[in-house]
């Protein structure tokens, strides 16, 4: 690590981050975060590319009429909007309920430890 890097990270040297990283609390936070966002990211990308391939190579199927002039292609396209809105809402409620409390707790502990060590947390 070059020295100049430290300049932009004032106040970061007092905390033993490896210890925090190994703590059960933090590992739980990381597990929850990745356990939620990774599968969801894979799922929405698969659904998006499935749609792209259908639009690209299955013109017949996409132009199947469903109701009036509304066809399968339009419904699947609007379906992408619906899933995007739904995933957004789902993630926010998950993060508010399951991630933020743990993250707040860890951050609170670190800040308290800082204060106890007389190390002004100058960046907050």
């Amino acid at each position: 690590m070059s020295e100049d890097a430290r300049v932009t990270r004032a106040g970061s040297t007092k905390v033993d981050y490896q210890e925090v990283e190994a703590s059960e609390n933090f590992r739980q936070l990381k597990r929850r975060h990745r356990g939620f966002v990774f599968p969801l990211a894979v799922a929405f990308l698969l659904w998006y590319f499935a749609y792209v391939l259908l639009a690209d190579y299955a013109h017949e199927f996409m132009s199947t009429p469903v109701w009036g002039n509304i066809n399968v292609g339009l419904l699947l396209g609007l379906g992408q909007f619906v899933t995007t809105f739904a995933i957004t809402t789902w993630y926010v409620s998950f993060a508010n309920r399951r991630l933020d409390p743990v993250a707040d707790e860890i951050r609170g502990q670190l800040t308290a430890a800082d204060a106890a060590a007389g190390n002004r947390e100058d960046l907050r």
């Binding site: 070059s2 966002v37 990211a41 792209v52 009036g68 066809n71 860890i106």
Partner: protein, 536 residues
Amino acid sequence: MSATLAAAASTSVGNPVLNISIFGAFVAVTLIVVLRASRNNKTAADYYAAGRSFTGPQNGTAIAGDYLSAASFLGICGAIAINGYDGFLYSIGFLVAWLVALLLVAELMRNTGKFTMADVLSFRLAQRPVRVAAATTTLVVCFFYLLAQMAGAGGLVSLLLGIDDRVGQSIVVAVVGALMIIYVLIGGMKGTTWVQIIKAALLIAGAFIMTIWVLAINGFNLSELLGAAAATGGEAVLSPGLQYGLTDVTKLDFISLALALVLGTAGLPHVLMRFYTVPTAREARRSVVWAIWLIGLFYLFTLVLGYGAGALIGKDVILAAPGGVNSAAPLLAFTLGGPILLGIISAIAFATILAVVAGLTITAATSFSHDVYAGVIKRGKTAPGAEVRVARITVVVIGIVAIIGGIGVQGQNVAFLVALAFAVAASANLPTILYSLFWRRFSTRGALWSMYGGLGSAIILIAFSPVVSGSETAMIQGVDFHWFPLNNPGLVSIPLGFLLGFLGTITSSRREDPAVAAEMDVRSLTGYGAEGATKG
């Protein structure tokens, strides 16, 4: 109706004086807001990140303002009006891409960085080479995007103001550039953000009114609207394939574009930088949520507007009008509400260009002054105020380059530049961002290989593609040196960017400091040590 429209469209539509007056009112109002917002621009955090004082909803609206460029508004409406369903495919890619930003990037970036993408990428890697690489890709993406916007400004004036000659268009480009320099110079990030917010509100409101109007004409029945569009443009507009279904190559081209759109957004530097204008990761999350809803609703409006323009005006009239595809939305406004609605929509389109250009410029200037000047040349030891001074000088330089570039590309077909900017962002920026946030072993060499490899391959492939030479619509006519068949390099350059990052890392013998890796891990997820709001 369509005869008068065609006659009007052959020169300009509506009343140029009215168009200019409405745009002038926008400029006056935003300038007052910018001046008021700039009163306490003192520190770097004020200038680059608006003192981190914006709320999630405000920042989300500004993100929508940044993202819904003239290409989105005029381009997508026109694409749907001409090519029907295939135009709709753009908006889906542009929207779904936000999930990458929401789930994987926004909050973690906000927690780890201060002002730029390079702050995050260089957190645990070698500072100087990574900052230089990240600043390079940032400047390249911003430059392509800027050029596309400036070219769009020239095209728009011929339609809206009745200025057809080259000198007149060049003057308009210079005025747009000069206004942008004033906004960014005086207002910094705070002023720029307010311009984005005002513009996003106007744009979405304008599109909403026109959408309701078009739906009302068709009895609020989507099927009826589609039927009307099909009656004018043929049944084919309702199904995919009109634009990209022609040959096997165009089909591959579409996959390439889809890849660049969905993965590019979360690597766009001017979007990433917006996450630093809020005080916490939670506000960054709220920003993205607001952005997704606003952008999603807007794209639903463009679906109605595009088919509405196809039905009410027709493909031939749109293509014959000055501005071509881009004239669909303004012509629709004229058909619905006459010169007044046209004036409003034109002013909004201009405001859009102005605001997006301002957002790009402050991003590029920040990257240069914070990463290259302060981080690399001065090694993090700058005199107080020097960094912001350099940023301001850079703003002027970029503004002048944008004006010269914008005048230079008048009349050339540079529509591919926006898609190219997305492809570069997806190939050079996103792999390094994801790797450095989620892959502990990721090394400096991996980052450099990925950024330079992704950037280089995207640019080389586009230089030897049909958009530059060897096709009817190519930028350079009369010669043919193309060997890459696709119009978008993403299909090759994006996997290459990811692969090079992986190969560079596993062949790298140098291990990065585990203590810093742990620090990044903890800070990115908890927000500990992240800079909060500087003041109220």
